[in-house]
C-alpha cells in the first residue's frame, strides 16, 4: 500500500516466562490519527517500546516507510522519523526548556547547521505548543501539564513523521485534556501521523480515526471509534462477563 507509514507484523515479546505481546499486527497510514487502547497491563507501552526501539522484539517484523527497522537502535529510528513522548515525563533536568528541545534538533537532523538557528527553531516549536513563556525555565520547575507539553514539544523537535503519544493526558484536568487534544490535532493537520495511547476514552474516541484494542498482549478488535464502542469483546475485556 502506498500510504503505509508503519507496519507491525506478527510481533512477539516475552519477559522471561511472561508473554507480553503475542503475534500483534497493525498498520498506521500516512497522516492518520490512530488510537491504541486496552486495559492496564495489556501490552500497550510494551508495543510502543518495541516500535520506538527501547525494546527488541522476540519475533516478527516492524516496517517504517517500507524499510525493516526491527533491529535498529532507538536513536536511528528517531532519525528516520519516529518520535515518542513518555508516560512519566523524562525531561533533561539540568537544562532549560529551550535546551531540552535543542537535543533532538541537533541530533535528529544532523545535516542542519549546529549553530544559532537551533534556538530560534526551538522557540518556534515552543510557540506552537504554547510553552514559549517557560523557555528559560529549568525543566525541574515545571508543572505536570507543562512537563507533558515539554514531552510533546521535544518529540516535535525531532521532526517526526510519526508521533507516539504515550498517555500524555493521564492525570490532567478536563480543560487541560482539551488543550493537549488541540495541540495534537494541530500537529496532525500539519501532516504528522499520531498514535495515541490513552485511558481517557472521551479523548481517544474523539481524536482517533481508527482504533486497535489490545488485551493480554493480543489485538482483540480494530475499527472506527463507533465500531469499537459497540464491540462486545472489547466490553468484556474492560468490564468482564
Amino acid at each position: 500500500m502506498a500510504d503505509m507509514l508503519l507496519a507491525v507484523q506478527h510481533v512477539t515479546k516475552r519477559f522471561g516466562g511472561f508473554q507480553a505481546l503475542t503475534d500483534v499486527s497493525l498498520q498506521v497510514h500516512q497522516g492518520e490519527r490512530f488510537g491504541l487502547i486496552g486495559p492496564n497491563g495489556s501490552g500497550k507501552t510494551t508495543l510502543i517500546n518495541c516500535i520506538s526501539g527501547a525494546l527488541r522484539t522476540d519475533g516478527g517484523k516492524i516496517l517504517f516507510q517500507g524499510t525493516d527497522i526491527t533491529t535498529l537502535p532507538a536513536h536511528q529510528r528517531t532519525r528516520l522519523g519516529i518520535a515518542r513522548s513518555f508516560q512519566i515525563p523524562k525531561p533533561f533536568t539540568s537544562m532549560t526548556v529551550l535546551e531540552n528541545l535543542c537535543i533532538p534538533l541537533i541530533y535528529a537532523a544532523p545535516a542542519q547547521a549546529h549553530g544559532a538557528d537551533v534556538s530560534a527553531e526551538a522557540m518556534q516549536i515552543l510557540q506552537h505548543i504554547g510553552l514559549e513563556a517557560k523557555a528559560d525555565t529549568r525543566a525541574t520547575r515545571l508543572s505536570l501539564i507543562e512537563l507533558r507539553k515539554l514531552e510533546l514539544a521535544r518529540a516535535m523537535a525531532a521532526r517526526p513523521q510519526l508521533l507516539i503519544s504515550d498517555e500524555t493526558m493521564a492525570g490532567l484536568s478536563n480543560s487541560e485534556v482539551d488543550e493537549i487534544l488541540t495541540i495534537l490535532t494541530a500537529l496532525n493537520e500539519r501532516g504528522i501521523s499520531i498514535i495515541m495511547i490513552e485511558h481517557i476514552m472521551r479523548a481517544v474516541m474523539r481524536f482517533s480515526q481508527r482504533i486497535v484494542v489490545l488485551d493480554a498482549g493480543q489485538t482483540i478488535a480494530e475499527g472506527t471509534p463507533d465500531e469499537i464502542v459497540r464491540n462486545h469483546t472489547v466490553e468484556k475485556a474492560y468490564l468482564g462477563e
Binding site: 520506538s52 537535543i103 549546529h114
Partner: protein, 314 residues
C-alpha cells in the same frame, strides 16, 4: 575573534610556565607543582566521564598506572624519550577506556562503578606478577642526565605536565561547548530519553571513556620519571581514585572550571599539609572537605558562586 580567545589563553599559560622555568631554581617548587598539574589532568579527565556523562569511575588508578607501566616498558625496551612515552601511555589507556566502554557501559549506575573498581584490582595483579617491569618489588628509574632546552630534568617534567594540563582543560572546554557535550549532558540527565531523542548514547559514552582514559594514561606516563621509581602500590594508589573524584565534586562537576578549581585548591592544600604537618594527613583533608561539600554545596564551588551571583541579581 571570540573563538581564538581560549587558544590564546592556553598558549599564553604554557608560555608563562616556560618563562618561569628560566627564573625559579627551587627544585621542590617544580616537584610540588607537577603533582598539582597532574591532578588537574586527572580531575578533568575524570569529569568528562563522571561529571558530563554521569558515570562514576573508581578506576582512575588503573588508567594512570597503565600509562606509567607502558612508559616503563618502553624505557626498558628501547629508551624512548618522554614525549613518545606520553603518547604511548595515552594510546594504551585510551584503548583500555574503549574496551571498558564496550564491555561495561551497558551496565548502569553503581554497577558500572563496581566494574571500574574490579578493573583496578585485576590490572594491579597483572603488574605485580610481571617481572620485566619490576613486579611486586618495583624498579628504580634513572632520569636522563641532560635534556634539551631545560637546565634540569624536573623542569622538563613540569613543562610536559603543564602542557598536558592545558591540553586536557582545553579538550574538556571544547567537549562541553560542542554538540558532544550537550549529548553527554542529555545522557546524564536521562539516558532513555536521550536515546529516544536521537542521541547515539552508546557511541558517545564510549567516546567519553576513551578520551577520559587516554588523558589519565598521559598523566601517568611521566610518573616513573617524576618519582624515579615504579612500583605497584604507589602506581595503583587509592589516592588517585579518591582525589580525581573529590576534586571535581568540590569544584563543580558540570563545567570545565570545576575540576580545575578543585584540583588547584585541594592539590595545593595537600602539598602544603605534606610539608608542614604530615604526609599521612592528605586523605583526611580530602575526606573532610568532600563531606562538607556534599552536604553544604552539592553543586561544588562553581555552583555555589553561580547561586550567590543569581541571588545578588534577583
Amino acid at each position: 575573534m571570540k573563538r581564538c580567545v581560549p587558544a590564546v589563553l592556553a598558549l599564553s599559560i604554557i608560555g608563562l610556565g616556560l618563562l618561569l622555568t628560566g627564573m625559579v631554581e627551587n627544585r621542590y617548587f617544580y616537584f610540588a607543582t607537577y603533582v598539582i598539574l597532574q591532578y588537574i589532568v586527572l580531575a578533568t579527565a575524570w569529569n568528562i566521564l563522571g561529571g558530563y556523562t554521569g558515570y562514576v569511575n573508581f578506576g582512575t588508578p588503573a588508567f594512570f598506572a597503565l600509562g606509567a607501566y607502558m612508559a616503563t616498558f618502553l624505557m626498558l625496551a628501547c629508551h624512548a624519550p618522554l614525549p613518545v612515552l606520553v603518547l604511548a601511555g595515552g594510546l594504551i589507556s585510551g584503548l583500555l577506556g574503549l574496551g571498558l566502554g564496550y564491555l561495561t557501559l551497558r551496565l548502569k549506575g553503581v554497577f558500572f562503578s563496581i566494574a571500574t573498581l574490579a578493573l583496578t584490582v585485576v590490572l594491579q595483579t597483572v603488574m605485580i606478577n610481571w617481572e620485566f617491569v619490576g613486579g611486586a618489588k618495583g624498579l628504580s628509574i634513572i632520569r636522563p642526565a641532560t635534556v634539551l632546552f631545560f637546565s634540569s630534568y624536573v623542569k622538563f617534567l613540569f613543562a610536559v605536565m603543564l602542557c598536558l594540563a592545558v591540553a586536557s582543560v582545553t579538550i574538556a572546554w571544547w567537549i562541553e561547548h560542542s554538540w558532544i557535550g550537550r549529548g553527554l549532558a542529555a545522557i546524564r540527565d536521562n539516558e532513555e530519553a536521550a536515546e529516544c531523542m536521537a542521541v547515539p548514547t552508546l557511541k558517545l559514552k564510549i567516546l567519553a571513556t576513551t578520551v577520559s582514559g587516554a588523558l589519565m594514561g598521559m598523566a601517568g606516563a611521566p610518573f616513573p620519571l617524576h618519582v624515579t621509581l615504579i612500583e605497584p602500590t604507589s602506581a595503583f594508589n587509592l589516592d588517585y581514585a579518591v582525589n580525581s573524584l573529590a576534586m571535581p565534586m568540590i569544584g563543580g562537576t558540570t563545567t570545565w572550571l570545576g575540576p580545575l578549581v578543585g584540583a588547584i585548591l585541594l592539590g595545593t592544600a595537600q602539598q602544603t599539609a605534606t610539608v608542614t604537618i604530615s604526609s599521612a594527613l592528605n586523605l583526611l583533608i580530602v575526606g573532610v572537605v568532600l563531606v562538607a561539600f556534599v552536604i553544604l554545596a552539592p553543586e561544588g564551588l562553581v555552583g555555589l558562586v553561580r547561586r550567590l551571583v543569581q541571588r545578588e541579581r534577583a
